[in-house]
């Protein structure tokens, strides 16, 4: 008996019981579609959050001062020290920190921004031109301040999109106009690209960027720094750059116990790692739920095939009387369940992939995981073999005389 004939018998039996076949397949279809959709959602969420994090500044590490942890006085040698321009200079030394590409010292202050009748309180950030790539700030129109502006401490400002909207009207490009920062006039030379609220920290669209020297002379004085933004040479050297930063500042601040540091590093890689772990746990949970629905679908196949074997006992008896070998009967029922489950798997894959095309609120898209699709197809066929195997073996083992007597 050829495989073509077995296939023909199986298809004929499935078509003869169309409704039942379709309902049986439904369980697997839902299971497979759920596996693909849920993994795609998890994957899409991960990709979305990753893109938001890289928005913080690719390859950049931010050093922020903080009070030493631990109870006061317990660590006498580790009194809290602010970050200084000397710290920034040390980080810029290519001998001690070969993986550091640039160092941007940052001072920031809250200031009243005013233009004509409009006035609001925003964050003014003073730094060097390297701050733009370091914080992933892109100038949409006009220009960023440059080294010349920095050296001359020129009162020039680059406005965040929201600040420009609030001061000069939505969508305006007020290049050359003047804003008052705490009463001091600054000339607007550029507008930043809108970023939107993403990741931790303040909304970058409400910042005003100005040269470090200008901000220091106008507001903060030439004292301590709020942050130092450090850029690694490449993504791969980010970890190396981080440990260089740690060792340099630990030495300068006299820190021996890493748990008592009076500063901390924040890098996009760190945040990405934490979120990645959270997300993969989440994805695993979703896949688990989908897997359970697959199992239920598989049991549905067993159930229906058992019903089918019972219902067709007489037919099996006739076939055996006419010379069907046990293996021919086994093959027929096994192929039936495999066709059911494989077809259901294919439909489930189509629905799952189709479902990922539906646009989602929140701006992220489900991204299909190819591995999940392959696994789903393999699993659905395996379900057919595994869950169809028992009823098929029962059919094959039926004794012809008993099967024929059944009405």
């Amino acid at each position: 008996m050829s495989s073509v004939e077995i296939l023909r018998f199986a298809v004929r039996a499935l078509v003869a019981n169309r409704l039942r076949s379709l309902l049986t397949m439904l369980g697997i279809v839902i299971g497979i579609a759920a596996v693909i959709l849920l993994t795609a959602l998890g994957n899409g969420a991960a990709k979305f959050i990753q893109s938001q994090i890289t928005g913080l500044g690719a390859n950049s590490i931010t050093v922020i001062a903080r009070a030493a942890s631990g109870t006061a006085g317990a660590s006498a040698g580790a009194s809290s020290r602010p970050l200084t321009a000397a710290d920034a200079a040390a980080l810029a030394d290519p001998q001690g920190a070969p993986d550091v590409a640039y160092v941007a010292p940052v001072v920031q202050t809250s200031a009243t921004v005013a233009s004509g009748p409009n006035s609001e309180t925003d964050t003014v950030i003073g730094s060097t031109p390297d701050y733009f790539p370091g914080a992933n700030q892109v100038v949409a129109s006009g220009r960023g301040y440059d080294q010349a502006d920095l050296t001359a401490a020129r009162p020039v400002a680059v406005l965040g999109r929201t600040v420009a909207d609030d001061m000069f009207g939505v969508g305006s490009v007020p290049l050359g106009r003047t804003v008052l920062l705490n009463g001091s006039p600054f000339q607007v030379i550029g507008i930043l690209q809108a970023k939107g609220q993403g990741g931790p920290g303040a909304n970058p669209d409400t910042n005003v960027l100005a040269p470090l020297t200008a901000v220091q002379s106008t507001f903060t004085g030439f004292g301590n720094l709020n942050q130092i933004v450090v850029g690694a040479r490449t993504t791969d050297s980010q970890n190396a750059a981080e440990s260089e930063v740690y060792s340099i500042i630990d030495r300068r601040h006299g820190i021996t116990n890493p748990n008592n540091r009076d500063y901390q590093l924040i890098s996009s890689a760190q945040i990405a790692q934490v979120l990645d772990q959270t997300l993969s746990t989440f994805s695993l949970l979703l896949a688990g739920i989908a897997g359970i629905s697959l199992l239920v679908g598989g049991i549905g196949i067993t159930n229906i095939m058992l019903v089918s074997v019972t219902e067709r006992t007489r037919e099996i008896g006739i076939r055996k009387a006419l010379g069907a070998t046990p293996s021919a009967i086994l093959a027929q029922f096994l192929v039936e369940s495999v066709i059911l489950s494989a077809l259901a798997g294919a439909i489930g894959v189509a629905i799952g992939i189709g479902g990922t095309l539906i646009p989602l609120p929140g701006g992220f898209r489900a991204v299909v995981v190819p591995g999940a699709v392959i696994a789903a197809v393999v699993v659905s066929i395996a379900i057919g073999v595994f869950f169809g195997g028992y009823p098929a073996r029962r059919a094959a083992r039926l004794r012809p005389i008993e099967a024929l007597r059944r009405e």
Binding site: M1, S2, E5, R12, A16, R314, E315, G317, I318, R319, K320, A321, L322, G323, A324, T325, P326, S327, A328, P400, I401, L404
Partner: protein
């Protein structure tokens, strides 16, 4: 396989020796067949008659390799059936025996053509060979124009003729008919019995079980089963 070495045409198609069949054990044991002997030669047309419960169905099931005897020997076309496993018995049924049942036993929702073709599918006959032989068998039983009908679209007599065509296509050594006319009206009974007469005339070996006298009268020989024992009887029943 232990095929008898002598000339095939001389070997009996059925050779049953001291065969018994017991259902159950101990005090509740039922002796369906008691040390039965039966010899059927090639080309013979034998009717097995007996009342219901006499053991004739048990005999037919064993002759058709659907059931195994408790003791005794059974040679089918010179081959000892006891030596065969389940798979080999399936193949033996396929090649050597054509079944005709009282309740027709066509496969439902399947066309006449596919029903007749079925034993040849299990025999591994090519598609083309199957088509030719199915057409020839349907011609023989006069149902060539019903090839695409399903069993529920045929009368009982037509269904039984399809079953006869199905029993013939593999050119078996033996046709086993279990009350083939039991569910048929007298006109259809005549049709089917005429068909058997025709097959007998072309040299087919037929063993037919019946409780109807007029059916048994058509056979060369009648064997009576009473309480599990066989007795030869010539001519009509007394």
């Amino acid at each position: 396989m232990t095929r008898a070495a002598d000339d095939r045409s001389e070997a009996p198609v059925l050779d049953v020796r001291r065969m018994s069949k017991v259902y159950g054990e101990g005090e509740t044991a039922v002796h369906a067949l008691r040390e039965v002997d039966l010899l059927v030669r090639r080309g013979e047309y034998v009717a097995v008659v007996g009342q219901s419960g006499s053991g004739k169905s048990t005999l037919l099931n064993i002759l058709g390799c659907l059931d195994a005897p408790t003791s005794g020997r059974y040679l089918l076309d010179g081959l000892d059936v006891a030596d065969l496993d389940e798979r080999q018995q399936s193949i033996l049924r396929n090649r050597q025996i054509g079944f005709i049942f009282q309740s027709f036993n066509l496969i439902p929702r399947t066309t006449t053509f596919a029903n007749v073709e079925l034993p040849m599918v299990y025999a591994g006959v090519s598609r083309r060979g199957r088509r030719e032989r199915t057409r020839a068998a349907l011609d023989l039983v006069g149902l060539a124009d019903r090839a695409d009908h399903r069993p529920n679209q045929l009368s009982g007599g037509q269904q039984q003729r399809v079953a006869v065509a199905r029993a013939l296509v593999t050119r078996p050594a033996l046709l086993l008919a279990d009350e083939p006319t039991g569910n048929l009206d007298s006109a259809s009974t005549e049709d089917v019995l005429d068909l058997f007469d025709g097959l007998h005339a072309t040299g087919r070996t037929i063993v037919l079980i019946t409780h109807e006298e007029r059916v048994a009268a058509r056979a060369d020989r009648t064997v009576v089963v009473t309480d599990g024992r066989l007795a030869e009887q010539a001519g009509a029943r007394p």
